[in-house]
């Protein structure tokens, strides 16, 4: 502590920082604590949100709750969301993969920039705008349909799938392509039988992640599929389908304790699906990346 005295350098003093260096190191460790605290804060917020949903939602959940219609259950919403998201996935997945193929296999510099910009903008579109768009295109002067909701979700999913697919396509080893070229295989056959199969893991991952994102999307569904009867099961995508996010939203706007319990239950189901899907997709991606580099 007293390594520097007025007489100057003292060789017997212990080697501890003093003065300016001490200040700098103190500042540095304060900053390090700040970083750690920020990370802890983010994880803490996630923990609090998930804990609240689990502890409050668990009270609501039982078999009847999952299988029956309102007032005792959420069955119709689960079925409706399943149908809406399934239709959206069936449309968005091929689209996203084709766009990724265009980017990696065909596009020149300028075309790639344009398409990538399109994907960025599409990804950055506020979902409420997509809702307005769907209303103007498919709902206005007609009626709400589950199909319109699916199309809205397609717009949300495409950039996610295209981006994820493109990233794994880039990882496909050039040697595979070269081997196919050397054997005289036509390009389209190489793409369909060599490139795509080896990127399959990544494509599936990207699709699952986009499904997880789309399942909880609320804003577009307010325009496309919000007027429904929560007590009736409906399988027809050409009428408004009951769905989880809109139900949570409308229950949260009513000040009704029983409604809140139902909303917590819905939130628990939705968030467990999303968390498991995200974590599963991540694990799958790690596995397929390892396989590709091996």
């Amino acid at each position: 502590m007293i390594s520097r005295t007025s007489s100057g350098f003292d060789p017997t003093a212990p080697l501890t920082p003093s003065g300016n260096l001490r200040r700098r190191q103190l500042l540095s460790s304060v900053a390090e604590w700040g970083g750690t605290a920020a990370a802890a804060l983010a994880v803490g917020v996630l923990g609090i949100v998930v804990f609240t949903i689990v502890s409050r939602g668990a009270k609501a959940i039982n078999l009847d709750f999952l299988l029956q219609g309102a007032p005792s259950g959420i069955g119709p919403e689960l079925v409706g969301t399943g149908i809406i998201v399934a239709i959206a996935t069936v449309i968005a997945a091929p689209f996203g993969v084709l766009i990724a193929l265009f980017l990696t296999e065909y596009a020149g510099n300028r075309a790639a920039t344009a398409v990538r910009m399109t994907m960025d903008l599409m990804n950055g579109l506020p979902s409420i705008i997509i809702g307005l768009f769907i209303f103007g295109l498919l709902v206005n002067h007609r009626k709400q349909t589950g199909f319109a909701a699916s199309i809205a979700l397609v717009i949300i999913m495409i950039p996610l799938i295209a981006r994820g697919t493109q990233e794994v396509l880039r990882l496909v080893p050039a040697s595979l392509r070269e081997a196919a070229d050397a054997l005289g295989v036509a390009r389209w056959r190489t793409i369909l039988t060599v490139v795509l199969p080896s990127a399959l893991g990544g494509i599936v991952t990207a699709t699952i992640l986009s499904v997880a994102r789309a399942a909880g999307e609320t804003a577009p569904l307010i325009f496309a599929s919000s007027v429904f009867d929560p007590s009736r099961f409906s399988l027809n995508p050409f009428e408004a389908l009951p769905n989880v996010p809109v139900r949570i939203y409308s229950l949260s706007e009513e000040a009704n304790p029983e409604g809140f319990t139902e909303a917590w239950g819905l939130s628990l189901v939705l968030i467990s699906f999303i968390l498991f899907a995200s974590l599963g997709a991540r694990a799958l991606l790690e596995r397929s990346k390892r396989k590709m580099s091996a």
């Binding site: 193929l101 506020p126 706007e253």
Partner: protein, 332 residues
Amino acid sequence: MDAVAGSAAAPTSPPVRRRRARGKRIDAAGNAILFGVCLLAALLAMAVLGLVAYEVIHGAQPAMSKFGLGFLTSSEWKPGEQFDLFGAESLLFGTLVSSFFALLLGAPIAISIALYLSLMAPKGVRGVVGPLVELLAAIPSVILGFWGILILAPFAHEHFEPFLHSVFGFIPIFGKPETTGSSIFTASLILTIMVIPIIASISRDLFMAVPRELQDGASALGATRFEVVRGIILPTTASGVAAASLLGLGRALGEAIAVAQVIGAGSKIETSIFKTGDTLAARIANQFPGALSELHKSSLFYCGAILLVIGIISNLVASWIGRRFSYDTGML
């Protein structure tokens, strides 16, 4: 496969030659078709984007021709037959203020998290905390908003707001807390939670890409860890971090549902952030389903058009900064 069969049978006899010619035709067609389909998908995506802009502006047409640019400078929002007057000034104000506070609060936290993850965290911790922070982005906004109404808003109302008012009360924006927790302040907190994972994950990737030699060189010259961050890491990645923050801002500006749930749907411009307000996106989500007249609907479309313009600008600027300094920012 056809090519292999062909080469095995060389020198060629007429049937083989014919078969090979057929194979070539098929391959040519296959190449053309696959290319065509891919191109079509890409063009269709661009067309959809154009169509989105067209539909939004088309829907806003009646309100645009009625109110013109005065829409931006009027705070009158009176739906119903006898008035039918609309103006978005207070919404524009609420949008900008709530997003600004979210960024002010969220960006430093997110950058700290990114620094922690890229420089300090032990490998095992990094592998757990990194994905957890990204999971924060996976929580649907409607659930976050619902949590916001029932848990965060009362908590903020009872603890944060009185505290901030008692300490910073001399600044007018930290006015007296109101009777409920629904306020611009609560909305900002929710938006902060949404913005953090976006900025943190992009910044982390940026920080990881800073050349090791630069950092080691600074350390060898006696710089402390914080000085390495301030002197090397932040200056080399500043543009990327700015782009990431802009992306986060874009997300905050456009968020509708969660904000609609917690902001309280006020219609005046207030100095205090503890009072209710409203944003463009939240107003659309709140009022569109029960819109009273075509002009009301059209005015909400007008709000959407404003939002679209703001969103596109912030995205383009972000990707311009990103590209200009050769970093791809398009993803979360």
